[in-house]
Symmetry: C2
Subunit: 876 residues, 2 copies
């Protein structure tokens, strides 16, 4: 029989971290902690397979129910309490736990097992009526919200009303009777809102809660998160049912979250927040501002509170031992949730802590120097995509700033933008928006992703806003309590100053500071840990890393990020400025080769100048220059006005312009008259470019600059195209060089299936191949990048495609062709590289490594990502 349920407690634990896929991250760690002898409240985990089974059957099968009952009875024996017992009731928390952490995505129910009778037993047993009724009203609220889908804010509003009526500010000031009254009101509200009564049978409660967790796997937020994070729908979530311990049993109880190192900087200091007389969700929800656990954890928002070390030194010492053991055990920084019940410490959860990338790198480097990790292990600890975070800008220190207020430094990086108070508006104004919220919730994810940065009025360092922003690498200032936000009037007041939707603000997520107006930002500077870490990466990787750069400026950036050459310079990008575009258009409107040559001669000096700059910047590193690729109509004017202007500039009648434009129209320009086809139709274009390249090379040589050139001919479908064009180029090169020599190669982009298929023939006329996987993806899948937006996301959502093939290389289709081509052409000095968008995608880089490519080329800002991904590929 399938084992659907795994128990964990200090005397008998059935799983461990090796069962992460089956038990989820949380379940596996709970089991692991039990094995380590840590004080974990006993419980059991219902497996991810049970979730998948539920999705198929739309019901929890009887085997599962039986196994749950058995596990539950074991706990009853262990704790000498009984589920649903009126005198000595056993209560449970029910939490989701997927294979990887999905913060805020899945829902939790606490205090399950309470009903009108057990609440009385709990009150008597704990001699704390207020606590019992507080727990009960919380349970009803969570159950109503999570299981029955009633809007949680209704309950919050009722609670606020009650506090107002009682004229108090904090929940803690309410009495047992207040909560009794609230329980009755909540029950009525539940019936009104959902048409259902609150179930008194604890098992009913349990099955409904488990079902709700299973169902929440497919709520839209969860699906969206999975889509954004490449998590398979088929993984499912486990359910952790754990006996309750209570942080809200009085002032000797409490709850908290701590990190074994600073998640923001990576500094080796114990760090955390806690609240006495509270349950876990109070810390996370950001309703009360939590206190620091020690001096190290103090900040501007919480420095007035006493630390846990001061309040409960014994518990703090115990917690210190726990975190140290856990960090040694997991060889990583831990994020630990704990509860103190009447002075006794319980560990509810541990996991590798989320952290900023800067922190992740510092921690990895430190763990190596502490002897806990090897270099290779350390390299594997960092998700290359995260390195993006480090490349975010910071505020110009010399800019004049007006400090407005300060909040928590929740996620580093500086951002400036127009403020918007809703996720929708932030999305609409993507690229220039700053999202401002009381606090964020999972519904805000799209807005957070679109905004330049996030600013919240409430919440701590582990609030939703802070955790998600760090994950995204977005600057975030959280818990900025001076903000007074008015959603209705779309305005924000800070100490008397008011800002309206669309006004500019600037935040610095590294300092927690909020400034008025717009402030210039500067490129990031890399830490010495980062530099060290990247040298490790470089020493392990086999793949070369180049950058795609079209001008000297991009080339400089690429170099500063560690690029070893230019893998793709798109010469046409040089054509769009001022006089150049006019010369290009003149060329297009030429009626014969002579006229065309005359127009091209005007472009020559520009091109040459660009190439001199590029070669100078790269001084001896390979520079791959691709000859003209797009169809000519890309250079034509679009508006009637521009056409008229062009007609005047060229001294022809407008109808000539129009008819030429008509004749250049293509139904499928992607598959049209472009690339080498243009080179064959109008040899003078490629000749001019070759001339510019070679003259530039000679000029550099004269200045003593080393030159390492690769001339790339695009869009080859058949070998004979390359044969013919290579002859043309070599002839032109001979014309320019004469007796001189320039270190150069001629090769082609492999971007059409046919070229890949016939690679060995094509290679007869090439010194190198560069895989243009953007176009190769378009043709192999018959998928236009510009048109597929309409359906591609639904393809990924439905699982028809695992990933967007323009982001991560389609290994079975496009990858087959690349492998085929590489295997066909294995000869000394012949290089294979990749220059599509995929060159900066870690998964694709792994593929390139496995396939035996020589290098990848990506945009300059992705170079460090590629360096690390290449190292990881080599280590794996």
């Amino acid at each position: 029989m399938t084992k659907w349920v795994y128990s964990f407690n200090q005397s008998e634990t059935e799983g461990g971290r090796e069962l992460r896929d089956l038990l989820g991250g949380k379940g596996a760690n709970l089991a692991e902690m039990c094995s380590l002898g840590l004080p974990v409240p006993p419980g059991f985990t219902i497996t991810t397979e049970a979730c998948i089974d539920y999705q198929k059957q739309a019901d929890i099968n009887n085997d599962i129910k039986l196994q749950v009952k058995t596990a539950l009875e074991n706990i009853e024996k262990l704790l000498e309490k009984k589920f649903g017992d009126e005198k000595n009731p056993l209560l449970f928390s029910v939490r989701s736990g997927a294979r990887v952490s999905m913060p805020g995505m899945m829902d939790t129910v606490l205090n399950l097992g309470l009903n009108d009778k057990t609440v009385l037993g709990l009150a008597k047993l704990t001699e704390n009526e207020r606590f019992a009724w507080d727990s009960y009203r919380r349970f009803i609220q969570m159950y109503s919200n999570v299981v029955l889908g009633v809007n949680g804010s209704l309950f919050e509003a009722t609670l606020e009303d009650l506090k107002e009526a009682r004229n108090v500010k904090e929940d803690t000031e309410l009495s047992a009777d207040d909560f009794k009254e609230l329980v009755e009101v909540y029950k009525i509200m539940l019936v009104q809102e959902s048409g259902k009564t609150f179930p008194q049978d604890p098992f009913d409660q349990l099955w409904h809660a488990v079902t709700a967790v299973f169902k929440s796997w497919n709520n839209p937020r969860a699906i969206k998160y999975r889509e954004l994070n490449n998590i398979a729908d088929s993984w499912g979530t486990a359910v952790n049912v754990q006996s309750m311990v209570f942080g809200n049993m009085g002032e000797d109880s409490g709850t908290g979250v701590c990190f074994s190192r600073d998640p923001s900087t990576g500094a080796k200091r114990f760090f955390g927040e806690y609240l006495m007389n509270a349950q876990g969700e109070d810390v996370v929800a950001g309703i009360r501002t939590p206190a620091p656990i020690n001096e190290d954890s103090k900040n501007i928002g919480n420095e007035k509170f006493k630390t846990l070390e001061e309040v409960a030194p014994k518990v703090f010492a115990e917690l210190t031992t726990v975190y140290q053991n856990l960090e040694k055990h997991y060889k990583d920084m831990q994020d630990i949730e704990f509860t103190i019940e009447k002075g006794k410490l319980f560990i509810l959860q541990t996991r590798n802590g989320k952290r900023t990338t800067a922190a992740a790198i510092k921690i990895a480097v430190d763990l190596v120097s502490e002897g806990l990790l090897t270099e290779k292990e350390a390299l594997l600890k960092i998700d290359p995509k995260e390195i993006n975070q480090l490349l975010h800008p910071r505020l110009d220190p010399n800019a004049s700033k007006t400090l407005l207020t300060k909040g928590l430094s929740a996620s580093p990086g500086a951002a400036t933008g127009k403020i918007y108070f809703s996720s929708e508006e932030a999305v609409k104004n993507e690229g220039e928006s700053l999202l401002v919220r009381q606090e964020t919730s999972p519904e805000d994810i799209a807005g957070m992703a679109a905004a330049n940065g996030i600013l919240t009025a409430r919440g701590g360092m582990t609030s939703h806003a802070a955790v998600v922003a760090r994950g995204m690498g977005k600057p975030c200032v959280a818990g900025c309590s001076h903000l007074d936000i008015n959603y209705n009037e779309k305005k924000l007041t800070v100490d008397g100053k008011t800002y309206f939707e669309g006004d500019y603000l600037t935040i610095d997520g590294a300092s927690g500071e909020v400034y008025e107006g717009r402030i210039e930002t500067l490129d990031p500077v890399m830490s010495k840990e980062f530099e060290l870490f990247m040298t490790w990466a470089d020493s392990h990787r086999k793949l070369g890393i180049r950058a795609n750069a079209d001008n000297p400026r991009d080339a400089e950036t690429a170099l500063s990020f560690g690029a070893e050459g230019i893998g793709l310079c798109r010469t046409e990008h040089m054509f769009f400025e001022g006089e150049r575009i006019l010369a290009i258009r003149e060329m297009i409107f030429s009626t014969d080769a002579t006229e065309r040559k005359r127009a091209l001669d005007k472009l020559l000096p520009f091109q040459k100048e660009d190439f001199v700059g590029l070669l100078t910047a790269m001084s001896g590193k390979p520079v791959n220059i691709r000859l003209l690729d797009p169809p000519l109509h890309e250079f034509l004017p679009h508006t009637e006005y521009e056409r008229k202007e062009l007609a005047e500039a060229l001294g022809v009648e407008i109808h000539i312009i129009n008819s030429r434009i008509d004749s250049l129209h293509e139904f499928n320009p992607m598959l049209g008259h472009r690339g080498c086809r243009l080179g064959l139709s109008y040899p003078e274009i490629y000749r001019m470019q070759t001339k510019a390249i070679m003259e530039a090379a000679l000029e550099c040589k004269k200045k003593g600059i080393e030159v390492n050139l690769e001339i790339m001919i695009p869009l080859i479908a058949v070998a004979s195209e390359l044969k013919e064009l290579r002859l043309e180029l070599e002839d032109e090169i001979k014309n320019i060089l004469g007796e001189e020599k320039v270190n150069h190669k001629i090769g082609t982009m492999i971007e059409l299936p046919r070229a890949a298929i016939t690679a060995s023939e094509v290679s007869e006329y090439a010194d190198f191949f560069s895989y243009g996987t953007n176009d190769l993806t378009q043709t192999t899948l018959g998928l236009s990048r510009d048109d597929s937006g309409k359906f591609l996301s639904s393809y990924v959502a439905k699982g028809i495609l695992k990933q967007d093939p323009f982001v991560s290389i389609d290994q079975s289709g496009v990858g087959f062709l690349v492998k085929h081509s590489v295997s066909q052409v294995q000869r000394d000095g012949f290089s294979h590289g990749i220059c599509g968008e995929h060159g900066g995608d870690p998964e694709s880089i792994q593929f390139c490594h496995d396939t035996g490519l020589n290098y990848v080329s990506c945009s300059p800002f992705r170079v460090p990502i590629a360096r690390l991904a290449a190292a990881q590929a080599a280590i794996r």
Copy 2:
């Protein structure tokens, strides 16, 4: 040392027909005839390799010259004459001879070796001064024309002037002195026209003549001919140097051409023409009307002349023996050139005679019944492409024609009609209209069906016009770039001539020619030999032959041509008529699935009716129906007027129409939202089509009509698309059928590289594959069918592509993918077919046979071609 020269004479012959590639067709046959003991004047052949060597060196190398001299000396010994000897001169003819006959392409020089001195020797020796000087003036004329490029008509005119001066009509009436005078005039004319004197040294004459033949390999006519006939530039031509015999030595001499059977009808009758006292070119040039060789050869123009049989019965009897031997030897109808020198018969050349296709088939069938050929050999005798001639009307060969311009031979057959520039007008004038369009679109289908033929200014061999016309069996000339069409003024300008709506034009779709005015056409007739021949083809072929047919009418045509099923029914072609297009547009403008379904319900009865017709016509033969493929915007109105009309019909505002049209615009529709992608976005479309198909099947079953259905889902890139859609379809089928059963399969078109690459995964959800090689060619080569016209022809002309890949399958690229896919999926009952345009191309059919496909599907009119090509593939 390379052997550059091969001798042939009755005592020593160094070659034979097996050396055709090296000796050319003519040289190989001359050697072969010598081996057979036929009276062939001795000579030698300079090989095709020597021609290639000449092209490289731009000179005849010394080895060749040495070998020529040796061979020449042998002939001198054999004939006891000497080249250049003043008393007993040996004279030669110099002729080209490529591997395949290239009529009119290469030039010939006769009487080489004559000069001012040898002419006297010849006169004395033959005691015929007139003959000698006639020969000499002919030689100078040919030499001047062929070797030195002087316009031949100048010499003709001078000859005519002389005849006028002498007041005679025929050359034969001129005297020896007249010719002497002509020789002197010709020599002066030569100097005036070319600046060169006529060479007196016979070896100079010879080298110049040989060089001229070699050069003529690259004259524009020859290049053009090779381009049109797929003859490689690298083949080269041989040169045949043969001792002269003279038909112009008096009334006991003569020359002629004969066919062993009638080249026009194929009837078994000896057939030919001759002239006494004449050289070969007199017969060909048509200056004198030749006489019939026998009674059978008499016709209205020559019946008054005496036959050769009457004039020279012995020679005639000898010739009869020769032709019978040659036909037996070559097992084919022979085209023989002979000369009679003073009563002695010489055979100068034999070759398989050109013939009409009807004749070719009759001859092949007769030769089988005569026991000369096996069925297999007979089947290989006919070029399948020629069969086109038999199936379409052709121009009356005797009609006078004025050629206007030329386009692509897009769909064979001749058509004459009044030109109309819109589909509506073509329909109004059905039966006498010729539709003239820039290019056609699906909206023109009615007009195309109504017109006698179609003429377009743009588009290639697989443009819409070409594909649809071939499918309909309508003559079509496409991509006729000289046409300047003005829709507004309803006129057409070609090279300065203007034609208005209603004016007559005539097109020949087999040649791509466009003629002025009306020209009579002749209807096709199928002979009983043709029927027999095709049954032989059927008994030998392994490939099944299906047709692409979109409606019952096409299906009937296909059946009458021998189709064994429908390989592709494009359902969208059914959508363009009247109410249907409105319903489709209503569907496109629907805002949700319910509205969409309502619109689709209107289409259902039309679709069902079409399918009933199709299934009824095919009664039990497989019918493959492809679900909707093109992007929705293909169904949208193009003009502002049509848009307004649509807005009214749908009861919405015009701006809604316009904005929806804008939103459907795609940059590369070929790679856009079409095919199965539409099926996944709007499942109700495929469900409606499936419903229509299955309801039609049930209706047929009820009537006792057998049903054999294949439902095809287009544009699959990944297996999961097919998986999902197959589930949809099966669900709908279950809905319709309930407990009933209908013989059906579900499969997919393989038309994207990725589908072919991952064939084995895709096949998990398919019962069959049909290779859509049109789109597969577009994507594999990255080549838009609609846009590549601009450069594709120059690609073929330059030899970058051997052939238009849309006409004949690109075996190394597209073929690789097809082979890969077929080899991946080999299981019982799983069929592989091809339904692109290539299904009707003989070379591609050979490929399909070799690759192990189960069938090819082509347009109805190509079915007989495919049947024969498939048989030939199997025999080879």
